[in-house]
């Protein structure tokens, strides 16, 4: 007979037959996504001119979204990898919801280099294979680097998400019958939970964690290269790599906090996603906010002090010019508000963190926009300056991506336990760690931090 402890019961509950509310949410989201898809097709049909792109601002909303979503993707895998390596005990309930964000954000973000093409139907020309005349893509082009970085990151992130799922799939397999059993059975790959398997899995996860951190860092660095490789005022700067990575993690954590808060509320996971988790993530967010402020200051100061003619024009456009409202909003929501909220313990509540996070998500989107557009609009020859404002298709597609994120997340949470059951158990064991006859060498354990 199968005994179901409380943990399993609560964590498997969301997998039960969906309710009307769930259906409704999925339905609405699906419609929004579909509309975005329609907008894109329409754009392909009519011509790229439906966007607000113009001479000389040839990149706008779409590339902003690209950078933004790739940034968001740095929440999951990177965070959970770091937490696994440092063995932060509080990571256990967090890691999976984080890794899921990565997977989906990457899928969405990776779509934009395709969407923004003048001839999207030829996107595969970016893929490194020789064409009929044996001509390969140009490996000197940052866009090709993007291809390698993103595909590597996506592959490893998906695996990184999947491996720890195997034991949970096994659990579901053993607790269900019929079609469901076969499906989860297949996914479980015949997992039995022998000590060997546990060791292999743990080690594999360790290696993945080690490998994925540099990959994640490289991904957003390379995204930043898309800009810093070009001789464009305020783009051509060596700070962009770290600046983008920091920004990515920053927005990622914010996204994660929002997701967790939602899960907690909707799936009733109050007792697993505890305030302590938000507290800790909040601290992390505060650090990143300060780091972001530090980078931004560096970037602005060097431009301002260097006083290069072209750079100063862009600088002025954002500092005092037509883009200044956006700029100062960004500074407020990315730095001022988060630092106030998160540095005061009393405010570092779940609500506080969520408020800060929402602001940050908006602010980081703005940051990407402000990096791309004003620079392109203020290149070296003032006669050729220009401005940019989005047109309906771009807005529709942008909205659709957020809907897509929510949709994918909702669906995932419906079919997969969003908190890793076995890892929670492992955590539980270590808490009540009972005395054993054989003395256990310290190194023999995955040295849990008993805090």
């Amino acid at each position: 007979m199968i005994r179901q402890d409380r943990l399993t019961r609560t964590l498997l509950k969301p997998l039960e037959r969906p309710g009307v509310g769930w259906m409704l949410v999925v339905g609405v989201l699906a419609v929004v996504v579909a509309f975005g898809g329609f907008a894109w097709s329409f754009m392909m049909w009519e011509g790229f001119g439906l966007t607000g792109k113009r001479w000389p601002v040839f990149w706008g909303f779409l590339i902003t979204n690209f950078v933004f979503w790739i940034g968001i993707s740095h929440a999951g895998t990177l965070i959970s990898a770091i937490l696994r390596l440092v063995n932060a005990g509080w990571r256990r309930p967090v890691t999976r919801c984080a890794e899921v964000i990565t997977a989906f954000a990457l899928m969405i973000g990776g779509l934009f280099p395709l969407i923004h093409l003048g001839k999207p139907w030829l996107f595969f020309w970016l893929v490194p294979y020789p064409n009929r005349r044996l001509l390969w893509p140009n490996f000197r082009s940052p866009l090709v680097w993007d291809f390698f970085a993103i595909s590597t990151y996506l592959t490893s992130s998906l695996l990184f998400l999947f491996l720890p799922l195997i034991p949970d799939f096994a659990l579901i397999r053993d607790q269900s019958t019929g079609l469901r059993k076969t499906i989860y059975g297949t996914l479980a790959l015949g997992w039995r939970g022998t000590t060997q398997q546990w060791h292999r899995l743990e080690t594999a996860m360790q290696i993945m964690a080690v490998a994925i951190i540099p990959v994640a860092v490289s991904v957003h660095t390379i995204v930043s290269f898309d800009f810093s490789m070009a001789p464009v005022p305020m783009w051509h700067s060596s700070i962009f790599g770290p600046y983008f990575v920091a920004g990515a993690i920053f927005s990622g954590i914010a996204g994660l906090i929002i997701a967790m808060a939602a899960l907690r509320r909707v799936l009733g996971l109050q007792e697993y996603l505890e305030p302590i988790h938000f507290e800790n993530l909040g601290k992390l967010l505060l650090t990143m906010s300060l780091l972001w402020g530090y980078f931004t200051f560096n970037e602005r100061l060097t431009a301002w002090y260097g006083n290069d003619v072209a750079e100063m024009n862009t600088f002025a456009a954002t500092q005092t010019g037509s883009y200044s409202p956006l700029f100062w909003t960004m500074v407020t929501v990315n730095f001022v508000i988060p630092v106030i909220i998160l540095s005061i313990r009393r405010f570092r509540t779940i609500t506080g963190c969520v408020i800060a996070s929402v602001g940050i998500v908006v602010g980081m989107w703005l940051e990407r926009f402000l990096i791309i557009v004003p620079s392109l609009g203020h290149k070296f020859l003032p006669y050729s300056w220009g401005t940019y404002s989005p047109r309906p298709v771009e807005i529709a597609i942008t909205v659709a991506t957020f809907a897509a994120m929510a949709l994918l997340y909702t669906l995932f949470a419906k079919f997969v336990p969003i908190i890793s059951i076995w890892e929670m158990r492992a955590g539980a064991h270590t808490q009540e760690s009972a005395p054993t006859r054989e003395s256990v060498p310290v190194d023999a354990r995955l040295g849990e931090s008993h805090s």
Binding site: P56, W59, P113, K119, W125, L126, P231, L381
Partner: protein, 230 residues
Amino acid sequence: MAHRWGMAVDLDLCTGCGACVTACHAENNIPTVGDLQASRGRALHWMRVERYIEGEFPDVKTKYRPVMCQQCDAAPCEPVCPTYASHHNDEGLNAQVYNRCIGTRYCANACPYNTRFFEFFNSTFEKPLHLQLNPDVSVREVGVMEKCTFCVQRITAGKDVAAAAKREVKDGDIVPACAQTCPSKAITFGDLNDPESRVSQLAESPRGSKLLEDLGTRPKVTYLAGAEFA
């Protein structure tokens, strides 16, 4: 010896009349986009005459500067292209292969001179305007970048003529549309590898300078300064 095409623009001769702009449209099948698209910044002027007005009334000074693709030797637009649509040909031109272009528009962003333009829609030529189209130049489809080619079709034709006549291309054989129409003859075109060509000599002129020289793009267009060097 391989050619290395270059241009010299004498700012002391440019009267800002814009003949080069229209001539470029006529020669290169550049569509007119109409008022709506023009207002959205989609006007395609491979050649433009920049105008700058300094000072305040009554002491104002105006200058004109024709700007076209500078055919840089170290062109920022080339390496960023993932498909080699934008690359360097063996005569030093920044070639743009329209049917390799998938429209990332990265080259246009990388170009410091903003001399690259994008086909936002399939260009239309209301009948019978299509009868004017130059059969030696392809009409670009939607979604590709395009730019000044130094009238590469005229270069090819010029070389063919020379070859047919069993002789080398002489200086002045090949003239781009802008240079040919320029009423004050402000634009000179030629082979920079031929030390005797007028363009080579003008490139050496003390009045000469390159646009945004310090970016290290090594343009092949020389601008000859105006009055202050009188």
